[in-house]
């Protein structure tokens, strides 16, 4: 993708003007999609969707959002946002180029609608058109001041007014004419008032958003691995692991506080929680068994999950949104999902260990004792994995029974978790026969993890999309496909009469 630079004119005129878009505006509470959140979250999510490269010098994204939302009122007609259109066919259809901005596309919504309707079959073209339509709508809602709602208090009751309506009221008119300094006071007063009525979650979320703990955790883990490879000093790696755990603990606590529920309700959170849980458990197990390998494997898996959280943002959305009614039961949600996610974490550790062993066996030398030892570690992970998975599946059944009267309904998610359990049970049973030798045990364990990936991501990103759509997250399908391909490639490359045992 080409780097899309900002279109931004006459920045000096923006700051010289009476300007309520003060630096602290990100704190302001907003009601959007059924939840009160700070403006900085709305701004970041909006620009992430519309044009993630966009920024205005010396302005926060919240200030930028504010300028766009008040564009017409403040007379900032030069403020433009470049549209991101990746599909070449869509570009050709719209005669769009590098400099096409959303403002120009607004009037073409009709053409886009018609073109979408004319597409009989699902295609990348149609999907891109639909995506663009969504973007134009979001942009329009931003610049017309419809998306940003501002809290007004009357008789201790909060009502939410779109900013477009607010600026027409007497209060709003004076807000528009405020200088930066006056606006700071106005914002602080508003925040304080709403905090007293609605609680301080949005305040915490504002700070949480700015802390970017997932980034810091990633840096810490990378540093830990750099030190491991360069100096091989275990105490430093261990220290950094603790620091990473600390950062992630804070991340999870803040997220739980803001959302008011267990941190396991969407893909992003399950990835986060499994990485976190795996690292914590491997530190504990590593401490008691005095085995460094556990720490390395746990840290490595944690690194993988952090990379997904930081870079796979198209697939894993960190947006906190209200839950569907049936999931609003913290007890069952925490017990059932946590158990499953912990089991996936344990199985992921077995997967990393298995790959470590097969790669090392193929490209280096591993003696029998070492191989046996690693196999035992893999087996230990599998044990915990299958126990937790069996328990998690049953807890899910009990929850389903309790919530809608069906212990088991052959729903794809539950069926796939049973498939995972069956595949690992087949390996564990087979290990007792002559069919699965110590040689191929690790190969099979690394292959079996693909079933976990299918149950975890595949059900949502491949199965849920059904036959006639490309799914709600194409990124997910690509990710899963690459994962499968890489694992199979590793197995093919390491396929050789193994160096040990016979």
């Amino acid at each position: 993708m080409k780097i899309l630079v900002l279109i931004f004119c006459l920045f000096s005129s923006v700051s010289a003007y009476a300007n309520p878009c003060a630096p602290n505006i990100g704190k302001l509470p907003v009601l959007e999609k059924g939840r009160i959140k700070p403006l900085n979250v709305l701004s970041e999510e909006t620009f992430q969707f519309l044009n993630r490269k966009f920024s205005i010098k010396d302005k926060t994204l919240s200030q930028t959002y504010c300028l766009f939302a008040l564009k017409n009122t403040l007379g900032e007609t030069n403020l433009k946002l470049r549209a991101v259109i990746e599909n070449q066919k869509v570009r050709a259809f719209l005669n769009a180029n590098e400099d096409t901005h959303y403002e120009e596309l607004g009037p073409r919504l009709k053409d886009i609608n018609r073109e979408i309707m004319l597409q009989k079959d699902e295609s990348a073209y149609k999907r891109s058109l639909e995506e663009l339509r969504k973007k134009i709508t979001v942009y329009t809602k931003m610049v017309t001041g419809a998306a940003w709602t501002i809290a007004r208090v009357k008789d201790q009751k909060v009502s939410w007014v779109p900013i477009a309506d607010f600026v027409l009221s007497p209060d709003g008119r004076s807000f528009i004419e405020m200088s930066n300094k006056e606006a700071i006071n106005f914002i602080n007063t508003n925040v304080k008032m709403i905090q007293e009525i609605e609680g301080n979650q949005f305040r915490v979320e504002h700070i949480f958003r700015n802390l970017r703990l997932h980034k810091w955790s990633l840096y810490i883990n990378l540093l830990a691995f750099a030190i491991l490879f360069v100096t091989k000093r275990f105490p430093i790696v261990l220290g950094l692991s603790f620091l990473s755990v600390l950062a992630q603990t804070l991340l999870i606590i803040l997220r739980v506080y803001v959302s008011g529920r267990a941190p396991i309700t969407n893909m992003y959170e399950t990835v986060m929680f499994s990485g976190y849980g795996a690292l914590v458990i491997s530190l504990i197990v590593g401490h008691f068994t005095k085995e460094k390998l556990y720490v390395y494997v746990g840290l490595f898996y944690n690194l993988l999950t952090l990379m997904m959280m930081n870079f796979a943002t198209g697939m894993l959305s960190d947006t906190i949104s209200p839950l569907v009614p049936v999931l609003r039961d913290n007890f069952w949600l925490s017990t059932h999902v946590t158990t499953i996610i912990m089991s996936y974490g344990a199985l992921a550790l077995s997967w990393i260990l298995a790959n470590y062993l097969i790669i090392k066996t193929r490209f280096s030398t591993v003696d029998k004792a070492k191989a046996k030892y690693v196999n035992t570690l893999i087996y230990n992970c599998l044990k915990f994995g299958v126990i937790l998975l069996a328990a998690g599946i049953i807890l899910g059944g009990v929850w389903a029974d309790y919530s809608w009267g069906r212990f088991w309904g052959w729903d794809p998610k539950e069926t796939w978790s049973l498939i995972v359990l069956c595949i690992y049970m087949a390996i564990l049973h087979g290990k007792g026969t002559s069919w699965i030798t110590d040689n191929i045990f690790s190969h099979l364990v690394s292959l079996a993890f693909l079933s976990v990936m299918m149950a975890w991501f595949g059900v949502n990103y491949i199965l849920a999309s059904g036959l006639h759509s490309y799914g709600f997250s194409q990124g997910g399908a690509v990710f899963l496909g690459s994962f499968f391909a890489i694992q199979i490639l590793i197995l093919v490359l390491t396929y050789k009469k193994d160096a040990y045992i016979r």
Partner: protein, 533 residues
């Protein structure tokens, strides 16, 4: 002796680890196939194709036997196997409990409309029901739980039930007609929308009509012999149509005088077969008698083009098209597969087929259902093909068939099996909360009154994660729907599960046994991997 030998053989083969691996993998492969079928064709289809069909049942039975044999193989009881015993006992119990649920459990829906008491559970089973006009009795026949078309070959009182189509979609079929009425199929389209429709004048074509409204546009389908009169520019803009002779004329053709009443309403009198027929063309197409009663039996009808000038009306005559535009009536001809531009919003009309010797019917056609966003978007219609007195009929779950016998009738309907409860529900209130500032439901709650014979009535509050338990049944808040008068109806799922305690006990023993087996028995680990050097 012989039995003991055989049993030992079975124990050693079915109870072996290798057999366990095989049967687990077969079970897994079936499940994987099931999840893909589910994602393409929906949950029910997957159940009917795989999960609730005998091959999958047999696999589970074989697993059960294998687990049983594996357990017996490790008898007499030995301490190192305690974990193993409990784990496998837990599995056997869970299997048994699930079988009991499958065999004698009840799982259905109770649909509640506000203010209307209900006492029946709708079950997933499909049934054919026959009602006879002469008898009070009705006849009910269960249909098989199949995924694809199934031959029935059942005959009852002269009705031959031929095929059951569990998933079908209506297609238009053209049937040879003994009468001579016009029917045609068109597409009306512009850049935004396209709509295909079939219109008919044939009384045989019960599935189709002669008029259609598409937004502000009204479409009228008329006999082709009428079009020449539409093309005539006359002052009165009246057309008279004789249904017996199938011809038309205008008042001007026969110099029939058009008079006006004192209030300015037009009327005219036409001599016909020696009688005088009076019309008020701006009020009714039918003639009136001296008492101003409408005479529908009269073959003469009158048609005022004036009425159709104020809003968009399209007249179709098979190969002819007429409409009013710019103060003029336009009449044109259209050939099959030709398009004609219309004066409204860039619309054009295409003729696909026009027939007089055939008439159209809707005939269910078997298809694979298609699921999108966990809803069946195609094929969501059940149908049964039946034959009666040499004619073929289709009964669907939305449309029963009435078969006429010599002097009475039989009503054939396709419906869900119903279970009558010994108590009654009344939905008194339905509450839906939304997430602030959105229309997404945050919770839905039903307030019901439960009437049971000896206990009188009691109020209950059913919502997500808070079911109602009564008389062995559990009622859960499942979904809701909007009623015609903008209230809400509620759907409760009703469930009776005698296998529940066994499943729960089995699950508990299974989990404890697994932990015991894997975590407490440490000796096994040493032997699990061959010893290193």
């Amino acid at each position: 002796m012989e039995f003991a030998r055989l049993y030992h053989k079975a124990e050693n083969s079915l109870g072996s680890l290798k057999f366990a691996v095989i049967i687990i993998m077969v079970f897994t492969i079936f499940m994987i196939a099931g999840t893909f079928a589910e994602s393409y064709y929906g949950t029910e289809f997957a159940n009917r194709l795989i999960y609730k069909k005998w091959p999958f049942m047999v696999i589970q039975l074989v697993m059960f036997i294998s687990i049983l044999m594996a357990t017996f193989k490790r008898f007499p009881l030995r301490k190192p196997f305690y974990g193993f015993y409990s784990l496998h006992l837990g599995l056997l119990l869970t299997f048994s409990g699930s079988f009991i649920t499958y065999y004698s459990g009840i799982d259905g829906n109770v649909t509640l409309l506000p203010g209307i008491p209900s006492r029946s559970i709708e079950l997933p089973k499909d049934q054919i029901k026959l009602n006879f006009s002469s008898e009070q009795k009705s006849f009910v026949m269960d249909l098989p739980d199949v995924a694809t078309t199934k031959k029935l070959n059942i005959e009852y009182k002269g009705i031959k039930f031929r095929n059951f189509l569990p998933y079908s979609e209506n297609v238009t079929a053209w049937i040879p007609s003994k009468q001579n009425f016009l029917s045609a199929n068109y597409t009306l389209s512009n850049a935004m929308v396209a709509q295909n429709f079939t219109l008919t004048n044939s009384p045989e074509a019960k599935d189709f009509q002669s008029t259609l409204s598409l937004g502000p546009l009204s479409i009228h389908f008329l006999p082709d012999v009428l079009q020449p009169c539409f093309a005539k520019e006359t002052k009165s803009k009246l057309i008279i149509w004789n249904a017996n002779t199938q011809n038309c004329f205008t008042p001007e053709d026969y110099k029939i005088e058009i008079k006006e009443t004192s209030k300015g309403n037009r009327f005219l009198v036409i001599p016909h077969n020696g009688a005088l027929v009076s019309f008020f063309p701006d009020f009714s197409p039918w003639p009136v008698n001296e008492n101003f009663e409408i005479q529908r039996e009269n073959p003469l009808k009158i048609f005022s083009k004036k009425i159709f000038e104020s809003s968009p009306h399209l007249f179709l005559f098979g190969h002819g098209v007429s409409y009013f535009e710019d103060d003029n009536w336009v009449s044109e001809k259209i050939k099959v597969d030709e398009s004609l531009s219309l004066p409204w919003m860039g619309f054009e009309i295409t003729l696909h087929r026009a027939e007089k010797t055939f008439y159209p019917i809707l005939r269910p056609n078997p298809i694979l259902p298609i699921q999108k966003n966990s809803e069946i978007i195609k094929g969501n219609q059940r149908a049964v093909e039946l034959e009666y007195k040499g004619d073929t009929y289709y009964v669907t779950d939305s449309k029963p068939v009435i078969l006429g016998t010599d002097n009475d009738w039989i009503k054939v309907s396709l419906q869900k099996q119903k279970l009558e409860l010994p108590f009654e529900f009344l939905l008194t209130n339905f509450k839906m909360d939304t997430d602030p500032g959105t229309n997404n439901p945050a919770s839905y709650e039903s307030f019901v009154q439960l009437f049971s014979g000896n206990e009188g009535s009691k109020n209950h509050h059913i919502f997500m994660n808070n079911p109602l338990k009564h008389a062995g049944f559990t009622f859960y808040q499942a979904s809701y729907f909007k009623t015609e008068n903008s209230g809400y109806g509620s759907v409760l799922s009703a469930n009776y599960d005698p296998g529940r305690p066994i499943k729960y006990l089995g699950s508990l023993i299974l989990i404890l046994g697994t932990m015991w087996h894997y975590l407490i028995r440490r000796k096994k680990k040493a032997a699990f991997f061959s010893k290193g050097s």
